[in-house]
Point group: C2
Chain length 345, copies 2
């Protein structure tokens, strides 16, 4: 029996040299892909998440189609919060809705406990099935929403642009805010560790909407809780810490922790990595909008990012946010190939 | 006859010492204010913009109510583009709509010429009336949308979150893009100079949506055009160059020009100013969401910003974006007073 092949994605998380720059894409499984749309024609979104065989199949679709260097669990960040009792519903087209948003200290106290194993057994089963199928060929990334992003959904009642309720709640009910964030941090850490126990080899913490906050608010209201999630992750498992609109927050996100910092396209990878320090790995950072243009333009932009990373160990190629649903699959495939080609060492 | 009193806002634009930190607020005239809502009950939005007496009255409302250090012209950034013939309409609640969005080189060629004096005589008349009423007591700030923000409306057909059409157009029709931006830059410079001729003593260039771009895209697709607008402004009149989500773009915006850089709350004013250099003034940068909390919280946050500026000449206090419509007027008034009090030298 031979030793398992080293996996470039995990090597890059540890800032070890790799034969080429590993690449995966946020929302690499999704509506832009015909085989995903075929699955969605047969299953509702929630049903898909809750049916491990189907969710594992969706998890693996981009591996077959794109040649990426990792699979990422297919799931939704809010599912683990269903037991809180806030009336979570997935509306058609409109994304998640929370029917009883959390707007006061009393609302926080009223939240029911979350037993992760009972809340999302289907997620852990999906992880097991996907990992089994992947074997030692490719790593499986688990993920969860970070406490702020989860809290903002609970407080706003859905997606938001301005996060006015959240910003008010933080300041007007500081201790309830920290109580809520503390609970979400505990659930998130248990959830990620459950995915790791089921077979995930790395995890990404999505703080997708954090870019709405000032650095000073991040420091007071978010940093301690993101730090406690990351500190609680099973030792040895790389954590990717990601947000968008974070150009002013990255040094603080770094303080909160993570082996890899996810960058969006609003920063230049080269100088940003230099400023953050080369003792942290970075992931990113192509504007997903560029995938809608042409292969030539995608190559130009990808080459610029690779040049910024300068072949330094510890760069994972990714988009700065998820693949848009209007994206041609051929462009995504071409991106993966060209990243491999252009970065081959 | 005595010499006119020095105006702190204009002094700050020139980085001269002022007796206190001057303050004005983006969207200081707007729906949050009962006297504005009363005007809107009598006039449709477009009618209000096109009726100089009414628009001048709205321009002056916050001066009386808030004690700010400047008035800013009440107008809409797209009005000057009406002659282009793209079918601009202001829909109720939904903001501006462009019925024939610009999506190709042919669409750009089809755009009709804009004669600024004929397009927006009512704006210049509003400026004259407002300036007359203000006399030498307070300065009047004129404004315009920057070429990118105008182009994105024309291309997307309205407000957007992802700007996918714009990002595609830039790359797939580079020469049409630069032709469009060049035309918008010319119109914008003429428009601002027209406001200056009518009495505006400073102008703000709003590149509100620029934060959707990567630094590299900004450099190629935007910087030359914003620079040409700023370079064409009547000498001696301060230009405030503003955008949101610009943490990664500020050094490039600085390169494009402006006597004052507008900062949003996603950066810390102190270290950001230091990095940009003290040979440029800065404006900002309170999160407008904080105005919905409490006077105590507003004071804490305002004090932090003033501490970041450290009394250095060349800071204009403002929000990081416009006043939200749900904001209590008392909070806005309290902010203006406390900025004056806390910064009194």
């Amino acid at each position: 029996m031979s030793a398992p092949r080293p996996l470039p994605l995990l090597q890059a998380c540890r800032r070890e040299p790799t034969p080429y720059t590993p690449v995966w894409l946020m929302r690499q499984a999704g509506r832009y892909m015909p085989e995903y749309r075929a699955m969605r024609a047969r299953h509702g979104f929630l049903e898909l998440c809750k049916t491990p065989e189907a969710a594992a199949e969706v998890t693996l679709q981009p591996v077959k189609r794109l040649g990426v260097d990792a699979a990422i669990l297919f799931a939704d960040i809010l599912l683990v919060l269903e037991p809180l009792g806030v009336g979570l519903e997935y509306t058609r087209g409109d994304g998640p809705r929370i029917h009883r948003p959390v707007r006061s200290a009393a609302d926080v106290e009223r939240l029911k406990p979350v037993e992760v194993e009972q809340a999302v057994p289907f997620v852990f089963e999906t992880v097991r099935l996907a990992r089994q199928a992947l074997g030692d060929r490719l790593p499986l990334i688990g993920f969860a929403g970070a406490p702020f992003t989860l809290a903002s959904y609970l407080i706003e009642g859905g997606a938001s642009r301005e996060f006015l309720h959240t910003k008010r709640f933080m300041r007007e009910a500081r201790s309830a805010w920290h109580a809520l964030m503390g609970r979400l941090a505990t659930v998130t850490a248990e959830y990620l560790n459950g995915q790791i126990a089921a077979g995930a080899q790395a995890v990404q913490l999505f703080d997708s909407w954090i870019g709405t906050l000032s650095p000073s608010d991040y420091r007071e209201f978010v940093l301690p809780h993101s730090r406690s999630v990351i500190a609680a992750i099973a030792p040895g498992v790389p954590v990717i810490h990601f947000g968008t609109g974070t150009a002013g927050l990255l040094p603080l996100m770094r303080e909160a922790g993570g082996d890899v910092l996810g960058l969006d396209w609003r920063v230049e990878l080269g100088p940003t990595w230099e400023r953050l320090g080369y003792d942290v790995a970075v992931q990113g950072n192509l504007d997903p909008g560029i995938l809608l243009t042409s292969v030539g333009e995608i190559r130009r932009a990808a080459a610029e990012i690779l040049a910024g990373a300068a072949g330094r160990p510890g760069h994972i190629f990714n988009l700065g946010h998820g693949v848009h649903q209007e994206t041609p699959v051929d462009h995504v495939r071409a991106l993966v190939d060209m990243v491999h080609d252009m970065s081959a060492r």
